[in-house]
């Protein structure tokens, strides 16, 4: 290591301090009683269209995405672009379903997806299983935000190994933990403004400046294709790669896009972002306007090819984007982009820990440990859980190999889709029986895990159905729905269903 890049580090620290101050001030923004869970954990449901746009954008398009998507594009090409059809599929779905969910949760005072599931089916075991799946899938996601942050801190010139190398990351994360504890969802909502504007600035700069330096997009695609061809010539048994999909990649590409789109809004942090909106109107506005971030994501994905054209050679593809910026930009702007990525980790990490904490408090602790919690007890427990979840993620990154978090994240996506039937079907019909959905969920979790197990590594795709390579999450959820369907004919009626169609409709203004 040639040492620390002082200019870049100074700019980086400036922005980091700025958002830290904002994180603490946020407690007083749109003032509410933070001793109530809906205030701490959902910002009092007072976020209008604009705030929701920044918050959800910051929450869904994470730092890890900014590093990982171009990393896959750098490594194998077009396949990494599955993120684009994935994000196209999300918004028509949000437009249709999430206003219904918001209306029901608002009317009945629900704070989480699992709250809704209990209200719809009156089955606390289903509620608990939905909650547990969400929390377990969220943990590695938080850990991977730390990986995104660690990559840019290392690229600033800090050492890779040892406690000294982990110190900046640890400090940054502990600061985040403290202001999330204090300010709740208001903190990431406020920081998201800074993060998103910074990301837009660096992406616009990157897609104009870098191609201009490298001879245009035609030259960028040509050199990427040349590199892929050379890699395959050197090692014919390597996984398929190229600037178009190989025939064998088409089904995995499609099913991964569909499955990921189904999973995304089942994660507690996505639902937290949606439920904190001020109403169904704000959600519809966002279904129309959030695709702007998808465009940014597509441009970020292109950075993987630009790294080829710039001659960046890295062992770990995840270093490609930071190295590209170091090669292409002046130091002060490198500091700016790295700060954007690091702050981009703080927003989702905060919302994820809040979503997991809300879910733990409402859907595991309350039904199974203490049914009679006061709002302030709920809030205290959730604040504490948000700390536990974040410290857990930090420990995973500091003491376990990164591959552990990556594997768990892969499985997390497969697991998350399994709660899709319970939540989404419940928005339209309560014909399905709670017990049947629980059985389907458990079968889906088992099947998804079984399909993903490989002798050398966990795999996202397998040929379980007619020899076609399909995303495991999708295969498993098909079985999940089948089980729920069949058992719903047999099992007795649900204990309770407190919801009526009117609950799902917009309140008359």
């Amino acid at each position: 290591m040639s040492g620390i890049n002082v200019t870049a580090t100074a700019v980086f620290i400036f922005f980091f301090v700025l958002v830290t101050v904002m994180g603490f001030i946020a407690a007083r923004w749109k003032a509410g009683d933070l001793n109530e869970l809906h205030e701490w954990g959902l910002g009092g449901r007072r976020f209008g269209s604009w705030i929701t746009w920044f918050l959800l954008g910051g929450d869904l398009y994470t730092a890890y995405t900014v590093i990982a998507v171009p990393a896959v594009v750098y490594a194998i090409g077009a396949y990494g672009f599955f993120a684009v059809p994935y994000t196209i599929l999300i918004y028509p779905f949000i437009f249709l379903t999430m206003p219904r969910l918001w209306n029901a949760t608002h009317k009945r005072g629900y704070l989480t997806g699992a709250d809704f599931v209990y209200g719809a089916y009156g089955n606390k075991w289903l509620e608990g299983m939905v909650a547990l799946t969400g929390i377990i899938a969220t943990m590695p996601y938080i850990a991977l935000q730390l990986v995104g942050m660690e990559k840019v801190i290392q690229a600033l010139g800090f050492p890779h190994e040892g406690m000294a190398g982990h110190l900046p990351l640890t400090i940054a994360f502990l600061i985040l933990a403290v202001y999330t504890y204090r300010s709740g969802l208001r903190a990431p909502a406020m920081i998201a403004f800074v993060k998103d504007i910074m990301i837009y600035i660096f992406v616009i700069a990157a897609v104009i400046i870098i191609p201009a330096k490298l001879g245009g997009y035609g030259a960028i695609f040509d050199s990427a294709q040349k590199d892929f061809a050379a890699q395959l010539a050197a090692n014919p048994s390597a996984p398929a790669r190229g600037i178009l999909l190989a025939p064998a990649q088409i089904w995995p590409f499609i099913t991964l896009a569909i499955g990921s789109a189904m999973a995304l809004f089942m994660y507690p942090h996505s639902l937290t972002g949606v439920l904190s909106a001020s109403g169904p109107k704000a959600i519809r506005h966002n279904a129309i306007s959030l695709p702007a971030y998808s465009l940014v994501l597509a441009l970020i994905a292109m950075l993987g090819y630009m790294a080829h054209a710039a001659g960046i050679k890295v062992q770990n593809p995840q270093d490609a984007v930071p190295q590209l910026f170091l090669a292409m930009f002046p130091s002060w702007f490198v500091g700016f982009t790295f700060a954007a990525i690091a702050i981009g980790a703080l927003v989702p990490a905060a919302v994820m820990s809040i979503g997991a904490a809300n879910t733990f408090t409402r859907n595991l602790w309350r039904p199974f440990v203490n049914q009679n919690m006061s709002p302030s007890e709920e809030s205290t427990l959730a604040k504490l859980m948000s700390l536990v979840v974040k410290i857990g993620a930090l420990i995973v990154i500091l003491f376990l190999p990164t591959q552990f978090a990556l594997d768990l994240q892969l499985l997390g996506g497969v697991w998350m889709i399994q709660i899709f039937p319970a939540i989404i079907l419940g928005l339209y019909t309560r014909w399905f029986k709670g017990g049947a959905l629980l059985a389907g969920l458990i079968v889906g979790l088992a099947m998804g895990t079984y399909l993903s197990y490989g002798p050398t590594s966990w795999v996202p795709v397998s040929k379980a159905f007619l020899g076609i390579p399909l995303y495991n999450g999708l295969t498993a959820v098909a079985l999940n729905v089948l089980v729920a369907l069949v058992l719903s004919f047999i099992l007795p009626a649900n204990k309770s269903d407190e919801l009526t169609e009117a609950d799902f409709r917009d309140a008359k203004a």
Partner: protein
């Protein structure tokens, strides 16, 4: 009508074998990439149209 409008961008997004081609290029970018990038704002437009025709409160 509302559902058809919402379905159009979704179907276009998963017609992968049809857009997995290089030509026609745009500014040196293969079809695969610029098609998907054009589809993003197009999907916004379809959702907006769905809201308008479906009488959703916007």
């Amino acid at each position: 009508m509302r559902y058809i409008l919402l379905l159009i961008p979704c179907i276009a997004a998963v017609l992968t074998p049809y857009y997995n081609i290089t030509d026609p290029m745009l500014f040196g970018i293969p079809f695969f990439y610029w098609f998907l990038m054009v589809l993003i704002p197009a999907s916004s437009l379809f959702i907006w149209l769905a809201a308008k025709t479906g009488g959703d409160d916007l």
